[in-house]
Symmetry: C2
Subunit: 390 residues, 2 copies
Amino acid sequence: MREVYIIGVGMTSFGKFPECSVIELGQRACWEAIQDANIPPKAIQAAYCGHARTGRLLGRECGVGQSILWELGISGIPILSVGNFCASGSTALRDAWLAIASGMYDLVLAIGVEKLTARSGKGKPLTSDGVELLTNMGFSPPTFFAQMAIRHMHDFGTTREQLALVAVKNRKNACYNPRAQYRKEVTLEEVLNAPMIVEPLTLLSCCPTGDGGAAAILASKEMAQRYGNKPILLAASVLRSGEYRACREITSLEATVKAAKEAYEQAGVGPGDIEVAEVHDCFTPAEIVHYEDLGFCAKGEGGRFIEEGHSRIGGKVAVNTSGGLLSKGHPLGATGIAQVAEIVWQLRGEAGDRQVEGARVGLTHCAGGFQESLELAEVSSVTVNILMRK
Amino acid sequence: MREVYIIGVGMTSFGKFPECSVIELGQRACWEAIQDANIPPKAIQAAYCGHARTGRLLGRECGVGQSILWELGISGIPILSVGNFCASGSTALRDAWLAIASGMYDLVLAIGVEKLTARSGKGKPLTSDGVELLTNMGFSPPTFFAQMAIRHMHDFGTTREQLALVAVKNRKNACYNPRAQYRKEVTLEEVLNAPMIVEPLTLLSCCPTGDGGAAAILASKEMAQRYGNKPILLAASVLRSGEYRACREITSLEATVKAAKEAYEQAGVGPGDIEVAEVHDCFTPAEIVHYEDLGFCAKGEGGRFIEEGHSRIGGKVAVNTSGGLLSKGHPLGATGIAQVAEIVWQLRGEAGDRQVEGARVGLTHCAGGFQESLELAEVSSVTVNILMRK
């Protein structure tokens, strides 16, 4: 397999843009990525477009990538839709990585888009496909992560305050990210006292819904050398689905543990080498569990890890410098590629007031969807990418 | 890139199965493919699942592959949804081809599923995403192919009878395919006199809607030698999107011409080498145009090609021995992989009463969706595969 570089990234601001079509969101992100890479659009040889809910919400289940690219003058090449719930964008990026690593292509575009404001007035809450039985029994993403929190608190002494600190940190980071959906600091008290969604998760412990697009141009070494504006090595790109088990430990996502192990091996680094990371903080306890699953700290120590400041900018590993899903926003299909854009900016030293000084190695982590079996739910897919400045 | 083999195929019967979930359809097809390949299910290293309308019709936009495989004991591996309209299944197969050709994996599963009976009572006709403007002006797949027919008749003297012969031939072939949706011969007069849908296309000139699943196991040469029950070389697998143009010739799909050229080069064969082919006969004129675009005959001679019997079993190239979309049925996402299953059975000599004697080289062709621009529509994506018995 060949080395793969990211030579251009783009993303829209995340937020509520009811006036903007999902196609326009994608076009803006792609155009920025193309300009960032400084490539002629027609040099792109294939495109993978990730989206999770455009079919159900917009009647656009296929052909989203074609429509985005058609009027940017890009057609004729292989273009396809890729879906994997909240990991749809990162799955598209992983496909693009494989397309270049294989030797088949030298310049490939990964796109992620979503337009959740289209939900307005549609009634039913946004839950995962594939958990119909559990959903009828009350299951939803917040209830899943609330259970995770309660068990983590029981088993390891994690506190409500530690959980809330995730929201405080990520909101603070978002203040320095002009593309974030929420850019106003919140205090620990505000998080704790916000309206309760599912015990112990308050409104500020949950990521918002919103719209957005993100894109990345992936290239072979040769093309990175020809065009590359500070090319960043995509040293590992891993996708795993959740594993069927009769019972599970709810304070860990086994798919994350295994995907991270595979990614560290692929990149030849360990968790201690990661200086900046974007992880799937859809709800506050998720980020704490991801610290542990990704190896940033030992099992059970995630609460103390944030409390001691190890995951803030300037700490051992700066986590969710972009504001994360909690504050930057979470337009499902766009999230995984926006995470990669943030790490690219960090490794290039272009992250402005949220820059992690001298960062050379970064990681992204996305978790998407649920599968149900008997009385339990398991995460549907996880992606982990490791990026390096060479 | 490495050689890729197909070592197992499976498909459900196509038809209307309102009692059967899309997950069950996929499971049946996968299980047959796994048994056909004689591999342990857990040896599968990655899976690509193609579907086009499961989100809009069933609320299952993501995770379909995970749900299909979960209860077959396959989990933990990379699994993702792939969408490309009617070419969704063949796009999933093409991804699986790349995953093996790259050297990344040795055993990959491609799945295609669809459940169109879920449309019942949903009102609006099934049209393509991405052509909202044209759809509001009366565009639909039958109107597109009716225009193609009328122009072909005008330019080349193609007759209604020649168009109708496509339906007659494919229905006859379907009589020998126990998995086909319609297995009763029709006469030329019956096709011509069936209720008119869009002039000159009658009801019997149009493919039906239905449900179905199909699957294929792709393998590296080493795995094909270890497990292979008559492995078939997937000598070329090509995906292209339609090209943006200000005006177009409606009697040809340029994406087919270009994809076929690329596939012939990849496989090192020419159109004259193809002995058996499954092509995208969604409407009768489509098959005639595909003869020309794939190089089976010269431009404008498609009508005479069928009239002179060159595309029947025993002719120059037996086209749609399975019955094609017109008679075997067209559950969108399943179609592209079902086409490949038919060619695999033909090249293995397992096609029963519809066997093409001694066939060694076969082709599949799928066309999916439309993109709109100004006053015109262009096909969204085309796939072409070339299979060979070595």
